[in-house]
């Protein structure tokens, strides 16, 4: 008995050693900036912690909590309701909304914030019209919601980030077996009850993933928060660093943020505990959509149009108007194409690498026995929550250390100095993107894995495939939509990324987002409208494609019967 157990452990170790080693290596590379950050936090020479604890944190945590709560509510309600309508009903515009509801994903949050401040501020067109219509002379004569506020922040971020929830929830609603809902209806449940008591609880794991992604984006946002005057933790990090000259203090606050992220990740894990529903995606299982008519159809139409209009159409047309105006006045700058090339190269490389790593991690975790590997995979998600600037600062030390090792080796071996190979090229930016967005890739691929039955791989192995063989011929083809989704999400996110790009890019190297920022820094954000619009368009096409691929059903009868796979293994 005893020796048998030992032998089993030995075999297990042998089998999993490669996966474990590779995962540990990736985790180490990805977590390096966090380690750098911890080192900085520990290096405090002047103790700012008492000030941080007594003055900064109480306010910043309150504001951050309210922001997260508000954004969480907005994205959940908006994302789930629109996903349900689009996935299970037919109404005017439904086919259009199906993909168009993802569009806000292409909008950088800080750009939406700039647009809404311009539109809704005291002197913007909305309030000017309002004053004109009602005959008010001054801003002091009437009440109007202030966009530069916590509520403005919730509004802007909620509208831009709900597609994360929409995307995840829609995928599940599309796959939910009609049989389950039909049984509920047969047993006398109303459609409403079927939605609240069957569909949503079944979709909970997916919704949790979407909400967690949206909340992490909210947490690390600095551009919009700062501009809208939200006193979030990110803003506190910034003030501590820049104004009090205390990078250590800033790093300490950033560590508090990391704790929140860990809490979010745990919450997400908790949300999808014991929840794995594989299979049931056979197309003939799907129920036929409900045809909505009359008031109901128009209500559904309005419910889908509102987030699309507010999160995309309004800011995008604002940008388009400014861009047309600019090109008409100043002509077209050919330098623009260089910006596009830079942005695409960086975002494309990051997407490819993040996908490859994300796939590897998700696969390793899928086949992991024991907690060590799973914990390491979770660790690689930490970068997602750090404000870009903090991440960049944390990344610098390990990157330069690596550069210096290479430089020294090349000098010694070949007498050729390589200088700052990574920091001096765009590679540092790509590294930062991968650290930042790997969680998106891993999470998306994982969700894909959960949709296919592990019995498939077992069957392939039984039929003589090696693990790699099974991966290549069975799992990878099935996971193509998930991998493509992951690549696109990372690509779009990387196109939008600003703070880490600013700080880690080489000399004389501009991207679309740094160019927009340059104008904004000069106080003439409108002049960056062409580049801002280009970011949106570059995000637009992948998002449309994303919407199309993400509805492709799994090939028929490639899935194991459901019910065999619930529970972890």
């Amino acid at each position: 008995m005893h020796s048998g157990a030992l032998a089993r452990v030995g075999a297990w170790l042998h089998q999993d050693r490669a996966a474990l080693t590779a995962t540990a290596l990736v985790a180490a590379i990805i977590v390096a900036p966090v380690a750098g950050l911890l080192a900085i936090a520990g290096s405090a020479q002047d103790n700012v912690w008492p000030h941080v604890v007594h003055v900064v944190l109480p306010n910043a945590i309150t504001d951050t909590a309210l922001l997260l709560l508000g954004v969480g509510l907005v994205v959940t309600v908006t994302g789930v309701v629109t996903a349900w309508l689009v996935a299970t009903c037919r109404f005017p515009g439904q086919r259009l909304f199906d993909w168009a509801l993802l569009m806000p994903l292409a909008m950088p949050t800080y750009i939406v914030a700039y647009c809404y401040v311009d539109l809704l501020d005291a002197f913007g067109p909305v309030q000017s019209t309002f004053r004109h219509l009602f005959g008010f002379a001054s801003r002091r004569d009437y009440w109007f919601p202030e966009v530069r506020s916590l509520y403005g922040g919730i509004f802007v971020m909620g509208l831009v980030l709900y597609p994360y929830v929409y995307l995840c929830a829609r995928a599940v609603f599309l796959m939910q077996s009609a049989a389950v809902l039909d049984v509920a209806r047969t047993l006398g449940a109303s459609r409403r009850a079927a939605f609240f008591r069957i569909a949503v609880p079944l979709a909970r794991p997916a919704i949790a993933v979407g909400v967690a992604l949206a909340l992490m984006e909210t947490l690390n946002d600095i551009g919009a928060s700062e501009y809208l005057g939200v006193q979030s933790l990110s803003v506190a990090v910034y003030a501590t660093w820049v104004n009090r000259g205390s990078l250590a203090g800033a790093a300490q606050i950033a560590c508090v943020m990391l704790l929140i992220v860990v809490a979010l990740i745990l919450l997400e894990r908790f949300g999808r505990r014991r929840q794995r529903y594989a299979g049931s995606a056979r197309t003939h299982d799907r129920g036929s959509p409900v045809q909505l008519t009359g008031t109901r159809a128009w209500a559904a139409f309005a419910a889908c149009l509102a987030p699309l209009a507010l999160g995309f159409l309004v800011p995008a047309s604002f940008l388009a108007r400014e861009a047309v105006h600019l090109i008409a006045n100043n002509g077209f700058d050919p330098e623009f194409f260089v910006l596009i090339r830079h942005s695409m190269t960086l975002a494309g490389s990051a997407a490819a690498i993040a996908c490859a790593l994300g796939f590897m991690l998700a696969h390793a975790e899928q086949h992991a026995r024991g907690h060590a590997l799973g914990a390491m995979v979770r660790l690689t998600g930490l970068g997602y929550a750090l404000p870009g600037t903090v991440l960049a600062i944390g990344a610098m030390a390990p990157l330069v250390a690596f550069d210096n090792v290479i430089d020294a080796a090349m000098r010694n071996l070949f007498g050729v100095p390589t200088g700052l190979l990574i920091m001096g090229s765009g590679a540092a930016v790509i590294y930062a993107y991968v650290v930042r967005f790997l969680a998106v890739a891993t999470g998306t691929v994982e969700t894909g894995f959960h949709k296919i039955s592990p019995h498939l791989e077992m069957a392939a192995r039984t039929l003589g495939r090696t693990r790699i063989g099974a991966l290549a011929t069975v799992e990878l083809p099935l996971l193509r939509p998930a991998v493509a989704t992951a690549a696109l999400l990372v690509f779009v996110d990387a196109m939008k990324e600003l703070p880490a790009t600013l700080l880690l890019r080489p000399l004389d190297f501009e991207t679309l987002s740094t160019s927009v920022y340059g104008y904004a820094a000069r106080g003439s954000f409108e002049q960056g409208a062409v580049a801002a619009l280009a970011i949106v368009v570059a995000g637009f096409l992948p998002v449309v494609w994303l919407a199309r691929t993400s509805r492709i059903p799994l090939p028929q009868d490639m899935t194991a019967p459901s019910g065999f796979t619930s529970g972890s293994h």
């Binding site: 309030q127 820049v242 000259g245 205390s246 600013l502 409108e526």
Partner: protein, 343 residues
């Protein structure tokens, strides 16, 4: 494994393009400039330098963290010079040990002693005053003190950007240097009580909100007035023309002035050419470009001043040394949190 090959090809292509994009290593004669100033504002001066000397200038612009980057890069750092707005940023670089002093008769002659470091660690390029924009039609005052901004007569009438913005941090730090922390705290509370809205936006929004009737007085930097009044956009011109400027003073002192300036990198690979650029930037022609393009005051007393800048009225800078201001920035930032200025 079509996808695997595709990924490999993508990664390969990306690697090649990094290598192609990698900038020339340090051997070249180029001056590498890290800048916290948006490059559009300094490019004309840099182009004039390249034209006069044949030396190319490469720039890297970021809002934060450049000094940290120089420290991380260490001896291999390509940076020759760092340009920053606000004394706090220059001081940060010096504190991080990434600078080296520059001694130059030409610089000493051109720049008044108040606007360069006695040890030669930093040199100012331009001056900007932190002034009051007031509503043309609603405010009669022609002179103000910073102390007077806490007077209850301004209750609900003042707009200002975040108290944690470096421009305000330096103003509050100067206040501490003059009056001590306790008095500054009382003053900040008074100023906070006078605000028409929560601190947010930038300095231009102050002028915009004056036009919209939200406030009567806004605190802002002098050059924004020139930028707004000469803007291409009609809206901005309206904001700029809705206001009048007053140069407030400290009681018994002058107007709070901040600088844009630069430091030489400790490991500057091209120190000689970088020094040439420093001297060029305080020449009359470069100084005029700054004044003409961004409506700042030239640091060189004799340099010609753009007409728009002249229209802000005579500037009487406070005599407080900027090193003293820099020393109190941390206390100023802490006080802003303490009185809940931004809340």
């Amino acid at each position: 494994m079509v996808r695997g090959r595709l990924v490999a090809r993508l990664v390969g292509a990306a690697t090649l393009s990094w290598l192609a994009a990698a900038p020339a290593l340090a051997q070249s004669n180029d001056v590498n400039l890290y800048t916290y100033r948006e490059p559009g504002l300094i490019r004309p001066a840099l182009e004039a330098f390249t034209k006069a000397t044949g030396i190319k200038v490469n720039t890297l612009f970021a809002a934060d963290g450049l000094a940290q980057r120089m420290r991380s890069e260490g001896v291999n750092s390509p940076a020759d010079l760092l340009i920053a707005v606000d004394i706090g940023r220059l001081q940060e670089a010096i504190d991080l040990g990434v600078t080296q002093p520059v001694k130059s008769d030409a610089l000493d002659k051109a720049i008044p002693a108040q606007f360069r470091d006695p040890q030669g660690q930093w040199h100012a390029l331009t001056l900007r005053s932190r002034i009051a924009y007031v509503a043309k039609d609603r405010v009669a005052d022609t002179d103000l003190t910073y102390e007077g901004l806490a007077d209850p007569k301004w209750r609900g009438k003042i707009c200002i950007r975040s108290g944690q913005h470096p421009y305000n941090t330096s103003l509050f730090a100067a206040f501490i240097a003059k009056h001590g922390e306790a008095k500054t705290e009382t003053w900040l509370k008074g100023l906070k009580a006078n605000l028409a809205r929560k601190p947010s936006g930038g300095d231009r929004e102050g002028a915009r909100d004056i036009l919209a009737g939200v406030c009567d007085l806004a605190i802002g930097n002098s050059y924004y007035v020139g930028l707004m009044r000469n803007a291409k956009e009609e809206d901005q011109r309206k904001w700029g023309n809705a206001i009048r400027t007053i140069n407030p003073t400290f009681e018994g002192g002058g107007t709070h002035v901040n600088i844009s300036g630069l430091v030489m990198a400790k490991h500057a690979p091209n120190r000689a050419n970088a020094a040439k650029l420093m001297e060029f930037l305080v020449s009359d022609s470069a100084q005029h470009i700054f004044s003409d393009l961004n409506y700042e005051y030239p640091v060189v007393a004799e340099a010609p001043i753009a007409d728009t800048v002249k229209s802000f009225g005579a500037l009487r800078p406070d005599s407080l040394s900027l090193n003293d201001v820099a020393k109190h920035r941390k206390a100023a930032s802490t006080l802003v949190d303490k009185v809940g200025f931004d809340r």
